[in-house]
Protein backbone atom coordinates (compact mmCIF):
# COMPACT_ATOMS: atom_id res chain seq x y z
CA UNK A 1 0.00 0.00 0.00
CA UNK A 2 1.24 3.48 -0.88
CA UNK A 3 2.12 5.72 2.07
CA UNK A 4 4.07 8.69 0.71
CA UNK A 5 7.22 9.43 2.71
CA UNK A 6 7.00 13.21 2.61
CA UNK A 7 3.40 13.44 3.94
CA UNK A 8 2.34 13.57 7.58
CA UNK A 9 -0.56 11.59 9.01
CA UNK A 10 -3.22 11.45 11.74
CA UNK A 11 -4.53 8.54 13.77
CA UNK A 12 -7.86 9.10 12.07
CA UNK A 13 -6.32 8.39 8.63
CA UNK A 14 -6.05 11.85 7.14
CA UNK A 15 -2.88 12.77 5.24
CA UNK A 16 -1.40 16.26 5.07
CA UNK A 17 1.01 17.82 2.63
CA UNK A 18 2.61 21.25 2.78
CA UNK A 19 1.93 23.28 -0.35
CA UNK A 20 3.20 26.84 -0.16
CA UNK A 21 1.54 28.59 2.76
CA UNK A 22 -1.26 25.99 2.87
CA UNK A 23 -1.56 22.38 3.92
CA UNK A 24 -3.51 19.98 1.69
CA UNK A 25 -5.64 17.35 3.41
CA UNK A 26 -7.04 14.07 2.14
CA UNK A 27 -7.64 10.51 3.33
CA UNK A 28 -5.10 7.72 3.08
CA UNK A 29 -5.11 4.71 0.76
CA UNK A 30 -5.86 2.57 3.78
CA UNK A 31 -8.91 4.69 4.67
CA UNK A 32 -10.37 4.66 1.15
CA UNK A 33 -9.88 0.88 0.90
CA UNK A 34 -11.75 0.36 4.17
CA UNK A 35 -14.53 2.69 3.04
CA UNK A 36 -14.96 0.96 -0.35
CA UNK A 37 -16.77 3.00 -3.01
CA UNK A 38 -17.05 6.63 -1.95
CA UNK A 39 -20.38 8.07 -3.18
CA UNK A 40 -20.42 11.48 -1.58
CA UNK A 41 -18.15 13.98 0.12
CA UNK A 42 -19.47 16.89 2.17
CA UNK A 43 -16.86 19.65 2.31
CA UNK A 44 -16.53 22.61 4.68
CA UNK A 45 -17.20 26.19 3.60
CA UNK A 46 -14.15 28.12 2.41
CA UNK A 47 -13.14 30.65 5.09
CA UNK A 48 -14.38 28.48 7.96
CA UNK A 49 -12.14 28.51 11.03
CA UNK A 50 -11.31 25.01 12.24
CA UNK A 51 -9.61 23.54 15.28
CA UNK A 52 -7.31 20.55 15.23
CA UNK A 53 -9.28 17.34 15.82
CA UNK A 54 -12.63 18.90 14.97
CA UNK A 55 -14.89 17.17 12.39
CA UNK A 56 -14.94 19.33 9.26
CA UNK A 57 -16.01 17.08 6.40
CA UNK A 58 -17.99 13.90 5.85
CA UNK A 59 -17.24 11.07 3.50
CA UNK A 60 -19.94 8.57 2.57
CA UNK A 61 -19.79 5.16 1.03
CA UNK A 62 -22.92 3.25 0.06
CA UNK A 63 -23.86 2.26 3.59
CA UNK A 64 -21.63 4.22 5.93
CA UNK A 65 -20.67 7.80 6.70
CA UNK A 66 -17.47 8.97 8.40
CA UNK A 67 -16.26 12.27 9.73
CA UNK A 68 -13.03 13.76 8.46
CA UNK A 69 -11.17 15.64 11.18
CA UNK A 70 -9.06 18.76 10.80
CA UNK A 71 -5.42 17.65 11.19
CA UNK A 72 -4.47 21.25 11.98
CA UNK A 73 -6.05 24.41 13.33
CA UNK A 74 -6.51 27.25 10.87
CA UNK A 75 -8.77 28.48 8.11
CA UNK A 76 -10.17 26.51 5.19
CA UNK A 77 -8.40 28.07 2.21
CA UNK A 78 -9.77 25.95 -0.64
CA UNK A 79 -11.89 22.84 -1.15
CA UNK A 80 -11.75 20.27 -3.93
CA UNK A 81 -14.92 21.17 -5.83
CA UNK A 82 -14.50 18.29 -8.27
CA UNK A 83 -15.39 15.80 -5.51
CA UNK A 84 -19.03 16.89 -5.59
CA UNK A 85 -19.39 15.63 -9.17
CA UNK A 86 -16.75 12.88 -8.98
CA UNK A 87 -16.48 11.43 -5.45
CA UNK A 88 -14.82 8.34 -6.96
CA UNK A 89 -11.59 10.38 -7.24
CA UNK A 90 -11.12 9.58 -3.55
CA UNK A 91 -10.81 5.89 -4.47
CA UNK A 92 -8.93 6.40 -7.72
CA UNK A 93 -6.29 8.91 -6.64
CA UNK A 94 -6.48 9.52 -2.91
CA UNK A 95 -3.15 11.34 -2.65
CA UNK A 96 -3.65 13.45 -5.78
CA UNK A 97 -6.89 14.57 -7.44
CA UNK A 98 -8.85 13.04 -4.55
CA UNK A 99 -7.68 15.66 -2.01
CA UNK A 100 -10.40 17.17 0.23
CA UNK A 101 -9.45 20.67 1.34
CA UNK A 102 -6.54 23.01 2.10
CA UNK A 103 -5.98 24.70 5.45
CA UNK A 104 -3.99 27.86 6.12
CA UNK A 105 -2.55 26.84 9.51
CA UNK A 106 -2.81 29.20 12.45
CA UNK A 107 -0.39 27.08 14.51
CA UNK A 108 2.19 25.64 12.10
CA UNK A 109 3.89 23.72 14.91
CA UNK A 110 0.92 21.32 14.91
CA UNK A 111 2.12 19.97 11.57
CA UNK A 112 5.43 18.65 12.85
CA UNK A 113 3.62 16.91 15.71
CA UNK A 114 1.67 14.73 13.24
CA UNK A 115 2.76 11.15 12.47
CA UNK A 116 5.53 10.34 10.03
CA UNK A 117 4.89 7.78 7.28
CA UNK A 118 6.77 5.17 9.33
CA UNK A 119 4.61 5.76 12.41
CA UNK A 120 1.47 5.66 10.31
CA UNK A 121 2.58 2.39 8.66
CA UNK A 122 3.01 0.90 12.11
CA UNK A 123 -0.43 2.14 13.13
CA UNK A 124 -2.27 0.49 10.26
CA UNK A 125 -0.27 -2.75 10.40
CA UNK A 126 -1.15 -2.85 14.09
CA UNK A 127 -4.80 -2.34 13.24
CA UNK A 128 -4.79 -5.47 11.17
Amino acid sequence: MVIPKDFRYTKTHEWTKQEGADVLVGITAHAQEELRDVVYVELPAVGKTVKQGEPVAVVESVKAAFDIYAPLSGTVARVNESLSKSPQLVNQDCYGTGWFFAITPSQPSELSALMSSDDYTKLITGER
Partner: protein, 447 residues
Protein backbone atom coordinates in the same frame (compact mmCIF):
# COMPACT_ATOMS: atom_id res chain seq x y z
CA UNK B 1 -58.98 -9.28 24.84
CA UNK B 2 -56.67 -8.52 27.70
CA UNK B 3 -53.12 -9.73 27.23
CA UNK B 4 -51.01 -10.39 30.31
CA UNK B 5 -47.43 -11.10 29.32
CA UNK B 6 -46.08 -11.41 32.87
CA UNK B 7 -46.95 -13.32 36.01
CA UNK B 8 -47.18 -11.52 39.36
CA UNK B 9 -43.85 -13.08 40.38
CA UNK B 10 -42.13 -11.78 37.23
CA UNK B 11 -43.52 -8.27 37.81
CA UNK B 12 -42.30 -8.35 41.45
CA UNK B 13 -38.87 -9.51 40.30
CA UNK B 14 -38.58 -6.71 37.73
CA UNK B 15 -39.66 -4.07 40.23
CA UNK B 16 -37.11 -5.34 42.71
CA UNK B 17 -34.35 -5.26 40.07
CA UNK B 18 -34.94 -1.60 39.25
CA UNK B 19 -35.47 -0.70 42.90
CA UNK B 20 -39.07 0.44 43.13
CA UNK B 21 -41.67 -1.06 45.39
CA UNK B 22 -44.74 -1.01 43.15
CA UNK B 23 -46.06 -0.21 39.67
CA UNK B 24 -47.73 2.83 41.23
CA UNK B 25 -44.35 4.13 42.40
CA UNK B 26 -42.88 3.48 38.95
CA UNK B 27 -45.59 5.65 37.35
CA UNK B 28 -45.56 8.35 40.07
CA UNK B 29 -43.97 10.95 37.76
CA UNK B 30 -46.84 10.84 35.28
CA UNK B 31 -49.34 13.59 36.16
CA UNK B 32 -52.58 12.10 37.45
CA UNK B 33 -54.73 13.99 34.95
CA UNK B 34 -53.17 12.15 32.02
CA UNK B 35 -53.31 8.75 33.72
CA UNK B 36 -55.81 6.22 32.49
CA UNK B 37 -58.89 6.21 34.66
CA UNK B 38 -60.45 2.88 35.46
CA UNK B 39 -63.53 1.82 33.54
CA UNK B 40 -64.78 0.47 36.90
CA UNK B 41 -66.25 -2.57 35.26
CA UNK B 42 -67.65 -5.15 37.68
CA UNK B 43 -65.72 -8.39 37.84
CA UNK B 44 -66.90 -11.64 36.36
CA UNK B 45 -68.53 -10.24 33.21
CA UNK B 46 -68.79 -12.29 30.05
CA UNK B 47 -67.19 -11.16 26.81
CA UNK B 48 -70.55 -10.02 25.46
CA UNK B 49 -71.35 -8.08 28.62
CA UNK B 50 -68.00 -6.28 28.54
CA UNK B 51 -68.49 -5.35 24.89
CA UNK B 52 -71.95 -4.04 25.59
CA UNK B 53 -70.72 -2.02 28.59
CA UNK B 54 -67.96 -0.49 26.45
CA UNK B 55 -70.34 0.31 23.61
CA UNK B 56 -72.56 2.13 26.02
CA UNK B 57 -69.56 4.08 27.36
CA UNK B 58 -68.65 5.05 23.79
CA UNK B 59 -72.20 5.92 22.75
CA UNK B 60 -72.00 9.68 23.53
CA UNK B 61 -69.33 9.97 20.83
CA UNK B 62 -70.72 11.21 17.53
CA UNK B 63 -68.86 10.30 14.39
CA UNK B 64 -68.80 11.90 10.95
CA UNK B 65 -71.07 9.05 9.81
CA UNK B 66 -73.96 10.68 11.62
CA UNK B 67 -72.88 14.33 11.50
CA UNK B 68 -72.36 16.50 8.45
CA UNK B 69 -69.13 18.39 9.07
CA UNK B 70 -68.42 21.95 7.97
CA UNK B 71 -65.57 22.28 10.41
CA UNK B 72 -62.41 23.92 9.09
CA UNK B 73 -58.93 23.99 10.68
CA UNK B 74 -57.16 20.99 9.23
CA UNK B 75 -59.30 17.86 9.62
CA UNK B 76 -61.68 17.74 6.69
CA UNK B 77 -64.42 15.33 5.66
CA UNK B 78 -63.52 13.89 2.27
CA UNK B 79 -65.12 11.05 0.37
CA UNK B 80 -63.08 7.87 0.13
CA UNK B 81 -63.77 5.65 -2.87
CA UNK B 82 -64.62 2.09 -1.75
CA UNK B 83 -61.79 0.77 -3.89
CA UNK B 84 -59.27 2.38 -1.53
CA UNK B 85 -60.50 0.32 1.43
CA UNK B 86 -60.88 -2.84 -0.63
CA UNK B 87 -57.32 -2.71 -1.97
CA UNK B 88 -55.61 -1.26 1.09
CA UNK B 89 -57.14 -3.95 3.31
CA UNK B 90 -55.42 -6.75 1.43
CA UNK B 91 -52.94 -8.50 3.72
CA UNK B 92 -49.98 -7.50 1.53
CA UNK B 93 -50.72 -3.83 2.12
CA UNK B 94 -52.27 -3.91 5.54
CA UNK B 95 -49.50 -5.66 7.43
CA UNK B 96 -46.14 -4.38 6.15
CA UNK B 97 -44.45 -1.84 8.36
CA UNK B 98 -41.83 0.52 6.98
CA UNK B 99 -39.25 -1.69 5.25
CA UNK B 100 -36.47 -2.75 7.61
CA UNK B 101 -35.28 -5.83 5.76
CA UNK B 102 -35.86 -3.52 2.90
CA UNK B 103 -34.79 -5.16 -0.31
CA UNK B 104 -36.65 -8.37 0.54
CA UNK B 105 -39.85 -6.31 0.37
CA UNK B 106 -39.86 -5.35 -3.31
CA UNK B 107 -43.63 -4.84 -3.38
CA UNK B 108 -43.62 -2.40 -0.49
CA UNK B 109 -40.62 -0.57 -1.93
CA UNK B 110 -42.25 -0.28 -5.34
CA UNK B 111 -45.41 1.14 -3.79
CA UNK B 112 -43.43 3.74 -1.84
CA UNK B 113 -41.50 4.60 -5.00
CA UNK B 114 -44.78 5.15 -6.87
CA UNK B 115 -46.08 7.18 -3.91
CA UNK B 116 -42.97 9.40 -3.99
CA UNK B 117 -43.43 9.86 -7.75
CA UNK B 118 -47.10 10.82 -7.29
CA UNK B 119 -46.21 13.36 -4.60
CA UNK B 120 -43.48 14.84 -6.81
CA UNK B 121 -46.02 15.23 -9.62
CA UNK B 122 -48.64 16.70 -7.33
CA UNK B 123 -46.23 19.22 -5.81
CA UNK B 124 -44.08 19.64 -8.94
CA UNK B 125 -41.04 19.12 -6.77
CA UNK B 126 -37.96 17.06 -7.65
CA UNK B 127 -37.69 14.81 -4.60
CA UNK B 128 -40.29 13.39 -2.19
CA UNK B 129 -39.62 11.08 0.72
CA UNK B 130 -41.54 8.00 1.85
CA UNK B 131 -43.66 10.18 4.20
CA UNK B 132 -43.40 11.40 7.79
CA UNK B 133 -45.86 11.28 10.70
CA UNK B 134 -48.13 14.19 9.78
CA UNK B 135 -48.23 17.63 8.21
CA UNK B 136 -47.14 19.45 11.37
CA UNK B 137 -44.08 17.29 11.98
CA UNK B 138 -43.20 17.61 8.27
CA UNK B 139 -43.16 21.38 8.69
CA UNK B 140 -41.02 21.08 11.83
CA UNK B 141 -38.60 18.80 9.94
CA UNK B 142 -38.39 21.44 7.21
CA UNK B 143 -37.36 23.95 9.88
CA UNK B 144 -34.64 21.61 11.18
CA UNK B 145 -33.38 21.09 7.63
CA UNK B 146 -33.19 24.85 7.04
CA UNK B 147 -31.37 25.52 10.32
CA UNK B 148 -28.88 22.73 9.70
CA UNK B 149 -28.20 23.60 6.08
CA UNK B 150 -27.91 27.36 6.39
CA UNK B 151 -26.19 27.69 9.76
CA UNK B 152 -28.49 30.70 10.30
CA UNK B 153 -30.59 31.05 13.47
CA UNK B 154 -33.85 32.75 12.46
CA UNK B 155 -37.11 31.25 11.18
CA UNK B 156 -39.85 33.53 9.89
CA UNK B 157 -43.29 31.96 10.16
CA UNK B 158 -46.57 33.53 9.20
CA UNK B 159 -49.28 33.84 11.85
CA UNK B 160 -51.56 32.47 9.16
CA UNK B 161 -49.80 29.09 9.41
CA UNK B 162 -51.95 26.65 11.40
CA UNK B 163 -51.38 27.28 15.15
CA UNK B 164 -51.00 23.55 15.83
CA UNK B 165 -48.20 23.34 13.29
CA UNK B 166 -46.51 26.34 14.92
CA UNK B 167 -46.80 24.57 18.28
CA UNK B 168 -45.18 21.47 16.78
CA UNK B 169 -42.28 23.62 15.56
CA UNK B 170 -41.85 25.16 19.02
CA UNK B 171 -41.78 21.67 20.54
CA UNK B 172 -39.20 20.44 18.02
CA UNK B 173 -37.00 23.48 18.65
CA UNK B 174 -36.80 23.12 22.43
CA UNK B 175 -33.11 23.34 23.25
CA UNK B 176 -32.15 24.65 19.78
CA UNK B 177 -30.46 28.06 19.66
CA UNK B 178 -33.04 29.18 17.07
CA UNK B 179 -35.27 32.24 16.94
CA UNK B 180 -38.83 31.90 15.70
CA UNK B 181 -40.26 35.19 14.51
CA UNK B 182 -43.95 35.38 13.65
CA UNK B 183 -45.18 37.54 10.79
CA UNK B 184 -48.53 39.31 11.18
CA UNK B 185 -51.42 38.96 8.75
CA UNK B 186 -53.34 41.81 7.17
CA UNK B 187 -56.85 41.21 5.82
CA UNK B 188 -56.34 37.44 6.12
CA UNK B 189 -53.01 37.12 4.33
CA UNK B 190 -49.40 37.39 5.48
CA UNK B 191 -48.15 40.96 5.56
CA UNK B 192 -45.52 41.11 2.82
CA UNK B 193 -44.11 44.41 4.07
CA UNK B 194 -43.49 42.82 7.45
CA UNK B 195 -41.87 39.88 5.66
CA UNK B 196 -39.65 42.20 3.63
CA UNK B 197 -38.61 44.10 6.76
CA UNK B 198 -37.81 40.89 8.66
CA UNK B 199 -35.90 39.30 5.78
CA UNK B 200 -32.26 39.72 6.83
CA UNK B 201 -29.25 37.55 6.18
CA UNK B 202 -29.72 35.67 9.46
CA UNK B 203 -32.97 34.10 8.20
CA UNK B 204 -32.77 30.36 7.54
CA UNK B 205 -36.28 29.89 6.21
CA UNK B 206 -39.62 31.58 5.56
CA UNK B 207 -42.70 29.44 6.29
CA UNK B 208 -46.07 30.06 4.67
CA UNK B 209 -49.24 28.03 4.26
CA UNK B 210 -51.35 27.82 1.07
CA UNK B 211 -54.30 28.19 1.45
CA UNK B 212 -53.55 29.63 4.85
CA UNK B 213 -55.29 28.78 8.12
CA UNK B 214 -58.13 31.20 7.25
CA UNK B 215 -58.59 29.54 3.87
CA UNK B 216 -57.24 32.64 2.11
CA UNK B 217 -54.81 32.41 -0.79
CA UNK B 218 -51.37 33.78 -0.02
CA UNK B 219 -49.06 35.65 -2.43
CA UNK B 220 -46.66 32.70 -2.45
CA UNK B 221 -44.59 33.78 -5.42
CA UNK B 222 -43.72 37.18 -3.95
CA UNK B 223 -43.07 35.71 -0.51
CA UNK B 224 -40.71 33.17 -2.09
CA UNK B 225 -38.83 35.90 -3.90
CA UNK B 226 -38.40 37.87 -0.67
CA UNK B 227 -37.03 34.75 1.03
CA UNK B 228 -34.64 33.97 -1.80
CA UNK B 229 -33.35 37.54 -1.94
CA UNK B 230 -31.66 36.99 1.43
CA UNK B 231 -30.66 33.39 0.68
CA UNK B 232 -33.33 31.86 2.93
CA UNK B 233 -35.22 28.70 2.05
CA UNK B 234 -38.89 29.13 1.16
CA UNK B 235 -41.09 26.48 2.80
CA UNK B 236 -44.66 25.99 1.61
CA UNK B 237 -47.22 24.05 3.62
CA UNK B 238 -50.04 23.13 1.27
CA UNK B 239 -53.43 21.41 1.23
CA UNK B 240 -53.08 18.57 -1.29
CA UNK B 241 -56.70 18.67 -2.54
CA UNK B 242 -56.28 22.35 -3.46
CA UNK B 243 -53.47 21.43 -5.87
CA UNK B 244 -56.09 20.23 -8.32
CA UNK B 245 -56.63 23.93 -9.04
CA UNK B 246 -53.92 25.99 -7.37
CA UNK B 247 -50.33 26.42 -8.50
CA UNK B 248 -48.13 23.68 -7.02
CA UNK B 249 -45.21 24.69 -4.74
CA UNK B 250 -42.63 23.80 -7.40
CA UNK B 251 -44.18 26.39 -9.71
CA UNK B 252 -43.63 29.27 -7.31
CA UNK B 253 -40.12 28.42 -6.24
CA UNK B 254 -40.66 26.59 -2.95
CA UNK B 255 -37.47 24.86 -1.78
CA UNK B 256 -39.44 22.57 0.53
CA UNK B 257 -43.10 21.63 0.23
CA UNK B 258 -44.91 19.88 3.07
CA UNK B 259 -48.52 18.84 3.59
CA UNK B 260 -50.94 16.88 5.70
CA UNK B 261 -51.78 14.06 3.29
CA UNK B 262 -54.57 12.34 5.21
CA UNK B 263 -57.10 13.92 2.86
CA UNK B 264 -55.75 11.61 0.15
CA UNK B 265 -57.86 8.54 0.85
CA UNK B 266 -57.73 8.28 4.65
CA UNK B 267 -60.47 9.20 7.11
CA UNK B 268 -60.52 11.71 9.91
CA UNK B 269 -60.29 9.50 12.98
CA UNK B 270 -60.03 11.29 16.34
CA UNK B 271 -56.62 12.97 16.17
CA UNK B 272 -54.96 10.76 13.61
CA UNK B 273 -53.19 9.05 12.07
CA UNK B 274 -51.84 11.70 9.75
CA UNK B 275 -49.66 11.42 6.68
CA UNK B 276 -46.73 13.82 6.46
CA UNK B 277 -45.79 14.73 2.91
CA UNK B 278 -42.29 16.12 2.40
CA UNK B 279 -40.80 17.19 -0.92
CA UNK B 280 -37.76 19.28 -1.86
CA UNK B 281 -35.61 20.46 -4.71
CA UNK B 282 -32.80 18.22 -5.97
CA UNK B 283 -30.28 20.54 -4.30
CA UNK B 284 -31.54 19.49 -0.85
CA UNK B 285 -31.67 15.74 -1.63
CA UNK B 286 -29.02 14.80 0.91
CA UNK B 287 -30.65 16.85 3.64
CA UNK B 288 -34.06 15.19 3.37
CA UNK B 289 -35.33 13.54 6.57
CA UNK B 290 -36.81 10.05 6.63
CA UNK B 291 -36.70 7.22 4.16
CA UNK B 292 -36.19 7.43 0.42
CA UNK B 293 -36.85 4.63 -2.05
CA UNK B 294 -34.88 4.55 -5.28
CA UNK B 295 -35.22 2.58 -8.48
CA UNK B 296 -32.23 0.72 -9.89
CA UNK B 297 -31.33 -2.57 -11.59
CA UNK B 298 -30.20 -5.78 -9.92
CA UNK B 299 -27.26 -7.98 -10.98
CA UNK B 300 -29.34 -9.51 -13.76
CA UNK B 301 -30.27 -6.02 -15.02
CA UNK B 302 -33.86 -6.36 -13.81
CA UNK B 303 -35.71 -3.32 -12.47
CA UNK B 304 -35.38 -3.30 -8.69
CA UNK B 305 -36.20 -1.01 -5.79
CA UNK B 306 -34.02 -0.12 -2.84
CA UNK B 307 -33.86 2.12 0.18
CA UNK B 308 -31.37 4.72 -0.88
CA UNK B 309 -29.17 7.48 0.61
CA UNK B 310 -29.49 5.75 3.98
CA UNK B 311 -26.34 7.48 5.18
CA UNK B 312 -28.63 10.42 6.04
CA UNK B 313 -30.45 8.22 8.53
CA UNK B 314 -30.00 7.73 12.24
CA UNK B 315 -29.05 4.05 12.17
CA UNK B 316 -25.92 5.02 10.19
CA UNK B 317 -25.13 8.67 10.81
CA UNK B 318 -26.08 8.55 14.50
CA UNK B 319 -26.26 12.02 16.07
CA UNK B 320 -25.50 13.71 12.76
CA UNK B 321 -28.48 12.18 10.99
CA UNK B 322 -30.75 14.55 9.09
CA UNK B 323 -33.60 13.52 11.41
CA UNK B 324 -34.47 10.92 14.00
CA UNK B 325 -37.30 9.62 11.84
CA UNK B 326 -36.42 6.08 10.70
CA UNK B 327 -39.91 5.15 9.65
CA UNK B 328 -42.74 6.21 7.41
CA UNK B 329 -46.53 6.29 7.60
CA UNK B 330 -46.81 3.01 5.69
CA UNK B 331 -50.50 2.30 5.42
CA UNK B 332 -51.65 5.86 4.78
CA UNK B 333 -49.00 6.10 2.12
CA UNK B 334 -50.54 2.99 0.49
CA UNK B 335 -53.98 4.57 0.66
CA UNK B 336 -52.76 7.86 -0.79
CA UNK B 337 -51.07 6.08 -3.69
CA UNK B 338 -54.27 4.14 -4.46
CA UNK B 339 -56.41 7.27 -4.11
CA UNK B 340 -54.26 9.37 -6.43
CA UNK B 341 -53.92 6.61 -9.03
CA UNK B 342 -57.66 6.12 -8.98
CA UNK B 343 -58.53 9.76 -9.56
CA UNK B 344 -55.83 10.63 -12.06
CA UNK B 345 -55.07 14.24 -13.03
CA UNK B 346 -58.54 14.92 -14.50
CA UNK B 347 -60.42 13.39 -11.57
CA UNK B 348 -58.23 15.25 -9.13
CA UNK B 349 -58.95 18.54 -10.85
CA UNK B 350 -62.69 17.83 -10.76
CA UNK B 351 -62.44 17.01 -7.06
CA UNK B 352 -60.81 20.37 -6.39
CA UNK B 353 -63.45 22.14 -8.50
CA UNK B 354 -66.24 20.52 -6.47
CA UNK B 355 -64.64 21.74 -3.23
CA UNK B 356 -64.31 25.25 -4.60
CA UNK B 357 -67.88 25.37 -5.93
CA UNK B 358 -69.46 23.95 -2.78
CA UNK B 359 -67.54 26.30 -0.49
CA UNK B 360 -68.32 29.38 -2.56
CA UNK B 361 -71.99 28.42 -2.79
CA UNK B 362 -72.38 28.04 0.96
CA UNK B 363 -70.30 31.13 1.67
CA UNK B 364 -72.66 33.24 -0.44
CA UNK B 365 -75.73 31.82 1.28
CA UNK B 366 -74.28 32.39 4.76
CA UNK B 367 -73.49 36.02 3.93
CA UNK B 368 -77.14 36.59 3.11
CA UNK B 369 -78.06 35.89 6.73
CA UNK B 370 -78.62 39.12 8.71
CA UNK B 371 -76.13 38.27 11.49
CA UNK B 372 -73.33 36.97 9.27
CA UNK B 373 -70.65 39.07 7.60
CA UNK B 374 -67.47 38.17 5.73
CA UNK B 375 -64.20 38.86 7.54
CA UNK B 376 -61.61 38.89 4.78
CA UNK B 377 -61.85 40.12 1.25
CA UNK B 378 -59.61 37.49 -0.34
CA UNK B 379 -59.91 34.65 -2.81
CA UNK B 380 -60.35 31.28 -1.09
CA UNK B 381 -60.48 27.58 -1.91
CA UNK B 382 -62.78 25.55 0.36
CA UNK B 383 -62.43 27.28 3.73
CA UNK B 384 -63.58 30.75 4.72
CA UNK B 385 -64.09 32.87 7.82
CA UNK B 386 -67.33 34.62 8.73
CA UNK B 387 -68.13 36.85 11.67
CA UNK B 388 -71.38 36.69 13.64
CA UNK B 389 -72.87 40.06 14.55
CA UNK B 390 -75.87 41.21 16.60
CA UNK B 391 -74.48 39.58 19.73
CA UNK B 392 -74.62 36.09 18.24
CA UNK B 393 -71.84 33.91 19.62
CA UNK B 394 -70.00 31.29 17.62
CA UNK B 395 -70.34 28.62 20.27
CA UNK B 396 -74.11 29.15 20.50
CA UNK B 397 -74.39 28.82 16.74
CA UNK B 398 -72.45 25.57 16.86
CA UNK B 399 -74.56 24.21 19.71
CA UNK B 400 -77.69 24.78 17.71
CA UNK B 401 -76.17 23.21 14.60
CA UNK B 402 -74.94 20.20 16.55
CA UNK B 403 -78.49 19.53 17.76
CA UNK B 404 -79.47 19.41 14.11
CA UNK B 405 -76.67 16.90 13.33
CA UNK B 406 -74.35 19.50 11.84
CA UNK B 407 -70.80 20.49 12.77
CA UNK B 408 -70.53 24.23 12.14
CA UNK B 409 -67.48 26.39 11.49
CA UNK B 410 -64.75 26.36 14.11
CA UNK B 411 -64.90 29.24 16.61
CA UNK B 412 -61.60 31.05 16.04
CA UNK B 413 -61.53 33.11 19.23
CA UNK B 414 -59.18 30.83 21.23
CA UNK B 415 -56.51 31.10 18.53
CA UNK B 416 -57.21 34.53 17.04
CA UNK B 417 -58.96 36.65 19.71
CA UNK B 418 -58.72 39.77 17.53
CA UNK B 419 -61.16 38.21 15.07
CA UNK B 420 -63.94 38.26 17.67
CA UNK B 421 -66.97 35.99 17.11
CA UNK B 422 -65.58 34.49 13.94
CA UNK B 423 -65.87 30.97 12.63
CA UNK B 424 -63.81 29.02 10.10
CA UNK B 425 -66.06 27.05 7.77
CA UNK B 426 -65.03 24.34 5.35
CA UNK B 427 -67.11 22.81 2.60
CA UNK B 428 -65.78 19.83 0.69
CA UNK B 429 -67.05 17.56 -2.08
CA UNK B 430 -68.65 15.49 0.69
CA UNK B 431 -71.24 18.16 1.49
CA UNK B 432 -74.57 17.61 -0.28
CA UNK B 433 -77.01 20.31 -1.35
CA UNK B 434 -79.49 18.96 1.21
CA UNK B 435 -76.92 19.32 4.01
CA UNK B 436 -76.14 22.89 2.96
CA UNK B 437 -79.88 23.69 2.85
CA UNK B 438 -80.14 22.21 6.32
CA UNK B 439 -77.32 24.48 7.57
CA UNK B 440 -78.96 27.62 6.20
CA UNK B 441 -82.40 26.62 7.49
CA UNK B 442 -81.02 25.91 10.96
CA UNK B 443 -79.08 29.18 11.05
CA UNK B 444 -82.22 31.14 10.17
CA UNK B 445 -83.58 30.09 13.55
CA UNK B 446 -80.53 31.50 15.40
CA UNK B 447 -81.28 35.22 15.26
Amino acid sequence: MDYSPHTDEQVAQMLQTIGVSSIEELLANIPSEVRCRSFTLPTGLSEAEVLSACESLASPNRSLRELASFLGFGAYPHLIPTVVDALASRGEWLTPYTPYQAEASQGTLQLIYEFQTLICELMQMEVANASLYDGASSLAEAVLLALRTSGRPRILVSEAVHPHARQAIATYLQGFPAIIQELPHTNGVTDLEALAAASKDDVAAVLMQQPNVFGCLEPMEQAGQLAHRVGALFVASVYPISLGLLKPPGAYGADIAVAEGRCLGSPVAYGGPGLGLFATSQALLRKVPGRLVGCTVDQAQRRAFTLTLQTREQQIRREKATSNICTNEGWLCVRAAIFLSLLGPQGFRELAELNLQHAHALSERLRELPFVEPVFDQPFFNEFVVRYTDGVRARDVNRKLLKAGLLGGLALRPWYPALGESALWCVTEAASREQMDHVVKTLKTVA
